[in-house]
Amino acid sequence: MEKQQYERPLIKRLESKIPNKFGAKPNLIPITHIDEVAVKDLISEHGSPLFVISEKKIRSNIRKARKAFETRYPKVQFAWSYKTNYLDAVCRTFHQEGSWAEVVSDFEYDKALHNGVNGSKIIYNGPDKTPESIKKAIQNNSLIHIDHLDEYYTIQETADALGIKAKVAVRINMDTGVYPMWDRFGFNYENGQAWTVLNKIMRSDVMTLVGLHTHIGTFMLSAIAYGVAASKLADLAIGIRTKYDHQIEYIDMGGGFASVNRLKGSYLPGVDTNPTIDDFAEAITTALINADFKPDELPLLILETGRALIDDAASLLGTVISNKRLSDGRRSTILDIGVNLLFTSFWYEHPITPAQPFTQYTEDTVVYGPLCMNIDVLREHITLPLLNKDDHVVIQYVGAYNMTQWMQFITLRPRIVMIDEKRNVNIIREREHLDRILEFEKVPDHLKKFDL
């Protein structure tokens, strides 16, 4: 007699709660493959947990974004936001698609150079630019976006000493009707700070003002705010043209476009509610085209979009360690993926989907990670099919920030693979080993021996 497929016994109380008014049901399709490569094969070869990046998806995302802007505006340039995901393979995919590099530290600047990006195609942002990196950026003809006046003076002194004119832009913060306002970066538009620094730059002999930059927030759910910001930058650009007869080369609208992820507390999934790249493109380009630029003087439009281009191109595969019952009867499932790997689970409700077929029976579940820490919760509430120990799951939309903000904490960080367009699975970052961690540690002589 052939034995039946096992599914653990389940009993659920039927409750007559108010039904979901949208009738949304949990995702009932297992994710067995990523880019036609079987999840079980990926885990069996590369271990669990495992980050899997789709090169095909990255390329389709950036092409779609470029199309959204380039069909609306004549001069567009994307710059890959290194901090979002600075794995070399990811950066180089974006560079192959024509994106410049946008970096915010000495480390990221060097990484962009290491990736072969010409210095003149590196945008150097952020409040912490060391004097050494400023010197390097000036020598490499990079685009230095000034964040504060102390930085202005360092650039002034360094460029003066080098005898090279620094190419600079100014980061502007402003009220776009979205709160909290990101006024900690750059110079304020409304209170005149922006004009103070612009006047200084225009009178400097060792700086050339090439652009204006803003970055109004993160995971922005309003495209209109970008229209407001673009209008304000255009106003400054036209003011500079009028006052100094100087035409800036570009307006950099920064990043912050929402991805398809779902923020905690959102009633509907991000794919249904978040503005699309076309919405952002429409708001920005309409504002620029409607501004008072002469038609042949439209500035280059730079976008530093990160999250919206990479989030849905990566998944995190994991395995069920155990199922437990909490004291109040709720089901809990422990995965081998902790918040140290999935930092974004603090603010997103990442979709978690089994990687093997399942029945229609589901349970409300709390999903925990493996860390011996109470904060290690991936999902407070999720309706999941009946998972067994050693079953695999796929956590989607993890491409942004997780592979840069992850922590070596309690466990070692796993391998990262990228599936290329020919369905080859390439290891792009090796898993960590104890030796690699110990390499950084030193034990004083008097602590080398002990008896227990």
Partner: protein, 84 residues
């Protein structure tokens, strides 16, 4: 390990407890186990039955059966066995 006598289970996995008016749904194996319990089968016998009929290790069904009984207790569907 007795399930309350008046707990009724239908062929479609619908469980009704008339004392409180509460209703529940069970999956096919849950339904089979409730029926075995109503036939006064012991924990070991039920485990043996599931291992014989399903593709599962005894350690897995033991753990899952304990969890299932815990939920029956949680929903007050088990007779008080006087222990504890």
């Amino acid at each position: 390990m007795d399930i309350k006598k008046d707990v009724a289970v239908s062929d479609s996995g619908f469980v009704f407890y008339p004392t409180t008016g509460e209703s529940f749904s069970v999956n096919p194996l849950g339904m089979e186990i409730i029926r075995l319990m109503k036939d006064d089968k012991s924990f070991d016998k039920i485990t043996e039955y599931v291992v014989d009929h399903y593709n599962v290790e005894s350690s897995t069904i033991e753990k899952d059966l304990l969890d299932f009984i815990e939920m029956l207790n949680h929903f007050s569907l088990m007779e008080d066995d006087g222990e504890g």
